[in-house]
């Protein structure tokens, strides 16, 4: 019975006391943990979006792929909600860094909208065989984005420039493909142009997020 008493009463009381005492120090840690989760969820959402473009089964199993995207979107929204709560707590404490966190949050919210923007390609292109023309470029972009997310999550400054450059190179390759192949071969070239533009905006936003990350780390 002593063990149950210890688990039920003493430990929760001690945990709550520690939470209250260490709260000021834990806010930044909470932000970091929530940010990591959010980036992780975004990375998965990105993978789900690109799986629609890369896997030919998408056409026959639209409900399955869309369901996966929906679930991942919900995860992202949940993580975003958590980030907003942490920023709310920081704002209530009136620290000098509250502005930094709220603009960082805006940038992160932008990443999510940006991702939804370029995900529209899957719906806008009706002839799915067109995707096979640029599947290598899509796979390259996905890999570069994956590396970039990993880099920001682990706060790896050395690798970051390299990853950003890798992503820019992959987008450039897709752009070249668009100018030389897709514009002629595709029945609907405009969605690809908008997709490339959205990817460029995404790359820029990611760079912005990294700047916040390293300002904070410094």
């Amino acid at each position: 019975m002593t063990v149950i008493y210890l688990l039920c009463v003493v430990l929760p009381v001690v945990a709550v006391l520690f939470q209250i005492l260490w709260r000021p120090l834990t806010l930044h840690r909470q932000w970091r943990a929530s940010l990591k989760t959010y980036l992780f969820d975004l990375d998965y959402l990105n993978k789900d979006i690109f799986s629609c473009l890369l896997q030919p089964e998408y056409v026959d199993n639209i409900y399955l792929f869309e369901r996966r995207i929906h679930l991942q979107k919900i995860q992202c929204l949940r993580s975003l909600h958590r980030l907003r709560e942490v920023v709310g707590s920081i704002e209530r404490r009136n620290t000098d860094k509250e502005y930094l966190y709220s603009s960082w949050l805006n940038q992160l919210e932008g990443l999510f909208s940006n991702m939804l923007d370029y995900s529209q390609l899957r719906r806008r292109v009706t002839d799915y065989t067109t995707f096979s023309v640029c599947s290598q470029e899509f796979a390259g972009i996905l890999q570069a984005m994956d590396g970039l997310f990993e880099c920001i999550s682990s706060c790896d400054r050395e690798k970051l420039d390299m990853q950003v450059q890798a992503l820019k190179n992959q987008i450039y390759r897709l752009e070249e493909n668009y100018h030389h192949v897709l514009q002629i071969a595709s029945r609907e070239p405009l969605p690809f142009l908008l997709f490339i533009d959205s990817l460029n905006t995404f790359c820029m936003n990611m760079e912005g997020c990294c700047r916040y990350e390293f300002t904070q780390a410094a």
Partner: protein, 350 residues
Amino acid sequence: MNLLKRLESFDFMQTMTIVSAVLIALVVNSYYAFSHGYWMVLSALMVTQTTRGMPTRQGMLLLMMLVLAVISSSLVTENIRSINIIDVVLSVMFATCVFTAWFAFARSSKPYLYTSLYLMLIMIAIVSSGSSDHAMPGRILDIIIGAMIGMICSGWLLPVKWDQTFKSDTLPILEAMSEYSQVLSNYLFSPMQYAAMMKAKRYQLEDILLDQYPNWVYEVGFNRGLRSGFRYFLIHVEQMIETLFAMEQIAAQPLDPALLNNLYAAITQVMQVNSELLAFLIEYFSNKKHQATTSDYTSDVDELEKVLQQIVPGNLELLDLSPHYLALTALVRDMRDVRHLLLKLVFSLQ
């Protein structure tokens, strides 16, 4: 009207199902209980705690869990004689139960939820009196009777009206979308002035998606006749939300005001017709009569595209000369997509 709606809502119906199942189980338990506990009542209570999609399947799953918990508790009490070791086992179970319940809450995960429920039931079975091998058959019989009462109540007495439930679950999403779309049409032309309101409406829509999205439509084994129609509708609603969020993202970028002003009349017209279509959907889902409209739903979008072609270069190779041209083209394309999706949704109702 509101009271009637509440009475027809799933929450109220489920509450009534639970209350009636528990009351019937209490009466039956007092006369025909095989064990001396309240396992029949507990079973009826548990089996009625199902979601909308597949109550019978979930009820059977919960029944199996109850039976397994009783068998497991009997195995523990029969094989472990020392009270101190049972204390330790209970403590470990309690800690695991709290941990899994926390994870189930944090991750909205069903496996964690079921694990914590299972552990909780084992603890109840161990702590309650008469948890020996002899009590096990009586308990299992009580559980089966209780589960039958629960399933009869939820399946026949007060069954789920899926069409009504779907309507009431989708309505808040459509209403939030409509409000968001209305603010977005103002935000496009004066982003600074409407930034705070835009944010508030976006958060509201996100919260509704998080809390009220009818996920039960996707449950395994859900009515085959209804599920494709419901899923079709939900997927298109989601795609529309994606497009609206993308439009907000474009509007947040610094767009050339001179170019944008040229499109003002056409964009306003398109957004207004979009609002009309959304209002039609909302009226349909709230069982109201729809007002007739004069729009043909296509000419305004054609007009918008015509105006755009006069402003931006028609040649695709020249389009990426300026980011403003691309942003405006993307915006108009989004508007066309929203219209297309809205029309699909409206036609799907017929």
